[in-house]
């Protein structure tokens, strides 16, 4: 399978299964599109006719181009078949029972009252609560005990707002560090925060202990303050921006993401990204809102072309800024064509419910943070482990071949089959497909591939 698209002045051909990327001229672009279904002589004759007035092309160009395509096909760099399906369960089978990452719901409460919050203002449709040190410590012990030979263990302090239970966060990190030597494990901590409670103590802690911090900011003040308000209805932008700036400066501008959400209210989210840049932030992420259809904040079909145009304009802005010596990072465009994940990772699914789980303040285990509060998805708890095997088996079987729609999708090796939570919320099944999200994802991947091409060709300088 191949995928062809033109973007940023490049004609790009992706060979889906080998991962090969080719930049081609118009003749090769057209010839590749017809190559598999048209006999050689007919194809060459068709191309001669189409390009008869092209002064750049010599008579032998048509045969030469055809032969180049054939050579690439023979070398497994074009039209390569998908031979990976038998390996789809390999990685999960090899690591069955191994947990390597926990999303610690350190606080099911929040000091903001954002109406678009997928976690229902941090409560996850339940009671407000904070995790005790004892529960958190048991969760870390559970992780270590179930991590097999895995060395790097990932723990994200999440909420609600985790800094509303900051002392427990600090105590748990101290505990984890104290057992690294004896267990031979290395913890990588991340913190996701709305910024309201950031102070010097938090900054010191985050910069000392967290490999990444995710900071929630939606961009323009009026956009941010539309949803991200306190319980009195006051916007939070003015309060948090200086705190974020101080934290990022102390972090030397590295290992953080300024993460925004865009909704039906701001499909023109590039304007929000520009505000983030103006504020001095360069590591950026902007996510489409997760909302039920019909919710006023949900993206609509009318928003779709606007969002796609914004993704393209964002890619072009990145090139422009890079050439001007002011580069910035967009999370979804960080595509490393030479060092990205191996095929096992690409076909195995996201790992929710198997290697990755969420822990509630009460110690219950769920497949991921987006399933917390959905009682039927409760897997077990941190004292007894996973007891709900049928649900875990369902998640274990989620991979790139689990959904019929993915088989014909050129982007399947970039999303690994998509988000089970999005699929569930859109279709009622974790094996469903959130089509709108898929369409946005494919657009992002085209932009990301184009940027990677520009970088390798030196066009970003």
């Amino acid at each position: 399978m191949i995928h062809q698209f033109s973007l940023g002045g490049y004609n790009i051909v992706l060979d889906v299964c080998s991962g090969a990327v080719h930049v081609v001229d118009p003749l090769a672009y057209d010839m590749i599109a017809l190559y598999e279904d048209t006999p050689r002589d007919a194809l060459i004759a068709q191309m001669r006719e189409k390009y008869r007035d092209d002064p750049e092309l010599e008579p032998n160009d048509f045969d030469e181009c055809y032969d180049d395509i054939t050579r690439l096909k023979d070398a497994g760099r074009l039209f390569s078949p998908d031979t990976f399906e038998p390996m789809a369960g390999t990685l999960k089978a090899k690591t069955a029972g191994v947990v390597k990452a926990l999303c610690m719901h350190i606080a099911h409460t929040c000091n903001l009252n954002c109406s678009y919050c997928f976690a229902s203002q941090g409560k996850y449709h339940g009671e407000r609560a904070v995790m005790s040190y004892e529960v958190g410590r048991q969760a870390l012990d559970f992780l270590v005990a179930n991590s097999g030979t895995r060395h790097n263990l990932e723990v994200d302090f999440f909420g609600g707002e985790p800094l509303m239970n900051f002392q427990v966060v600090k105590d748990l990190v101290a505990y984890a560090r104290s057992i690294e030597g004896e267990t031979g494990k290395h913890f990588r901590f991340t913190l996701t925060t709305n910024g309201m409670l950031i102070d010097d103590d938090v900054i010191d802690f985050a910069n000392r202990e967290c490999s990444n911090v995710v900071l929630s900011l939606d961009g323009r003040k009026e956009v941010h303050d539309r949803f991200r308000v306190d319980f009195a209805g006051n916007g939070s932008w003015e309060k948090i921006v200086p705190k974020f700036q101080k934290l990022v400066k102390a972090r030397e501008g590295k290992n953080y993401y300024m993460r925004g959400t865009f909704t039906h209210a701001n499909p023109d989210f590039l304007e929000d990204i520009k505000v983030m840049l103006d504020l001095g932030f360069t590591e950026l992420s902007m996510e489409p809102v997760v909302a039920a259809a019909g919710d006023p904040s949900a993206l609509t079909e009318e928003d779709f072309p606007v969002v796609c145009q914004q993704y393209e304009a964002l890619a072009m802005l990145m090139l422009e800024r890079s050439r001007a010596g002011k580069p910035f990072t967009f999370y979804h465009y960080m595509l490393d064509l030479t060092g990205g994940p191996c095929i096992y990772k690409r076909i195995s699914g996201c790992g929710s419910g198997t290697e990755y789980m969420a822990v509630t303040p009460w110690g219950d285990l769920y497949p991921c943070h987006q399933f917390v509060g959905e009682e039927k998805f409760r897997l077990g708890d941190i004292w007894h482990g996973v007891e709900n095997k049928p649900v875990q088996d369902d998640f274990a079987a989620c991979n790139v071949y689990a959904r019929a729609e993915c088989r014909d999708c050129w982007a399947r090796l970039y999303c690994s089959g998509g988000c089970a939570a999005n699929a569930y919320h859109a279709t009622g099944s974790v094996r469903g497909v959130y089509e709108y999200g898929c369409r946005l994802f494919r657009k992002r991947m085209e932009c990301a591939i184009m940027l990677a091409v520009a970088k390798q060709l030196g066009d970003d300088k």
Binding site: V23, K94, R150, E154, F158, H332
Partner: protein, 51 residues
Amino acid sequence: MRHIQTIQTRDLCESAKKGGCGECQTSCQSACKTSCGIANQQCEKKQSEKK
């Protein structure tokens, strides 16, 4: 090739032979938390080779 320029990429078919160590970052444990993308993740083996 005059008409086709091939960009340097990791050969996914080749990665089937040596991949699958499972040490890489969990997909959602990063910035997004609301969608699944694995393409932007790093291979731990490749990272260690670089160091």
